[in-house]
Point group: C2
Chain length 241, copies 2
DNA sequence: CGAACATTTGACGGGCTTCAAAAGTCGTGG
DNA sequence: CCACGACTTTTGAAGCCCGTCAAATGTTCG
């Protein structure tokens, strides 16, 4: 849930193609020596779309680092609908705070697409914490960021109109998962209409209708089911206020 | 936002009647010596109902400890309605995480009733942190608790029915501010219908109507405007699911 | 006790959900 | 690479729940 700014080119033995550890801010300031220590303790896991990383009630035993792909963290409402709390993509991590206590996850986590994760066991994470106590500060900074995100989410889901809520969500996606391509902003996040609805406490149909309105107003352009181009960011921002 | 479990009888010079420092978990494990150090650095402030502690955009400069009374932390929606994020009462504190960064508050805080606060300046808080580094762990534990609360809030405000949302809120109040009196559970929190509505993203009228329904069903009993007896907790819990 | 304020209750309208069906998209296997 | 089936999205129509406006009632506190 937190991104790194400086990327250090160290190769990880278990996930050869990419450098999971250097991707996340938690470990970004480590020196070569410490980085290697961490890398040697990492396990690799791979999930297909829909696979669960863990379920609500499972004992928290690992730090999860998203290397490639994306993850949703959610709970079920009494009606059986998902309420998504976090959406994670490459470089985000999960489960760190749960390792400071002996406790169970209060939610589910599942892959949104084929996803590669690097994980650290509780013991290994704590061993690293002991060796490199500065990581504690990073954990706190990350907790602060997560609180800020949740505070924003509360204000998004209580927004009055659907237009407002969805505009806020699109801007959030833009800030976290947006890239520029051909002079256009594109959301590079494989999120379905239903995922959006489950994040905002709405239904697919309502999200679909509102996106159609945005498209009719030339504010966005939908390419297939999982790609959205932002054609008029300012109009979106006006909507969100 | 976090309560203390062990109360140490040390008298604070600035807020004579009560022992603000020993009330909060942040400082609860301090020895007599350290406790005195903290107490000597505390300032006292008093607010009337409606007074602002700070506004959104103000630079965060203090740790706020609620000694007596209660506080709401909120933002304004585009329509000018309050969206409440936190409700604090005696022993809760506020502003600690903001002192780890140089930043501005992203929300407003105001007193819900006549309220006494003990405060620590940024410098004094950091001086204490340096002297008693174990407090860092407490800050992290508190951050974790705050995250959990916000995650719950998201799931409460996205609940489908008003009945569900209000039942969840009442149970939350019961857990945080409830006492038993004459064999009945009583919410000892001076929260108005409008405050409840602003916490749940609803209107006063809707809250009022739902509470009347609960009263008709003998689930609660309203005594005046600011007191609620819970007559049938189980029924409330059934509603909330 | 009285004035200011908060809550309750009613009536109505609008926006979101629900249910249903059609259209579109995606991925797999041939 | 195409075809097919499964799945997702779109669109429509109807209904209900909550918000809004308004007025009456209740509560609080100087």
């Amino acid at each position: 849930m937190s991104k790194n700014s400086t990327t250090i080119p160290i190769r990880c033995k278990t996930c050869n193609e990419t450098y999971c550890v250097s991707k996340i801010s938690l470990f970004s300031h480590l020196n070569q020596e410490d980085m290697k220590t961490v890398i040697n303790k990492i396990d690799r896991q791979e999930y297909q779309k829909g696979d669960f990383l863990f379920q609500s009630g499972d004992v928290a035993e690992r730090l999860w680092i998203v290397n490639e792909g994306s993850i949703k963290v959610f709970n079920y409402t009494p009606e059986g609908k998902e309420q998504i709390l976090y959406l994670l993509s490459s470089g985000d991590f999960l489960g760190d705070l749960n390792l400071f206590k002996e406790n169970a996850y209060p939610y589910y986590a599942a892959a949104l697409e084929p996803t590669r994760l690097c994980t650290l066991s509780r013991n290994n994470f704590q061993a690293i914490l002991k060796e490199v106590p500065e990581i504690n500060e990073k954990v706190l900074a990350y907790a602060y960021e997560r609180i800020t995100n949740l505070e924003e989410l509360v204000q998004t889901v209580t927004a009055k109109n659907v237009g407002q809520r969805i505009a806020k969500l699109l801007i959030h996606f833009l800030e976290h998962f947006g890239i520029e391509r051909n002079g256009m902003l594109e959301i590079t996040f494989p999120v379905s209409r239903e995922d959006m609805a489950n994040y905002l406490g709405l239904t697919r149909e309502t999200v679909s209708r509102q996106l159609s309105l945005f498209q009719a107003d030339d504010i966005i352009d939908m390419k297939g089911n999982r790609q959205i181009l932002i054609k008029n960011r300012k109009a979106l921002e006006d909507y969100s206020r």
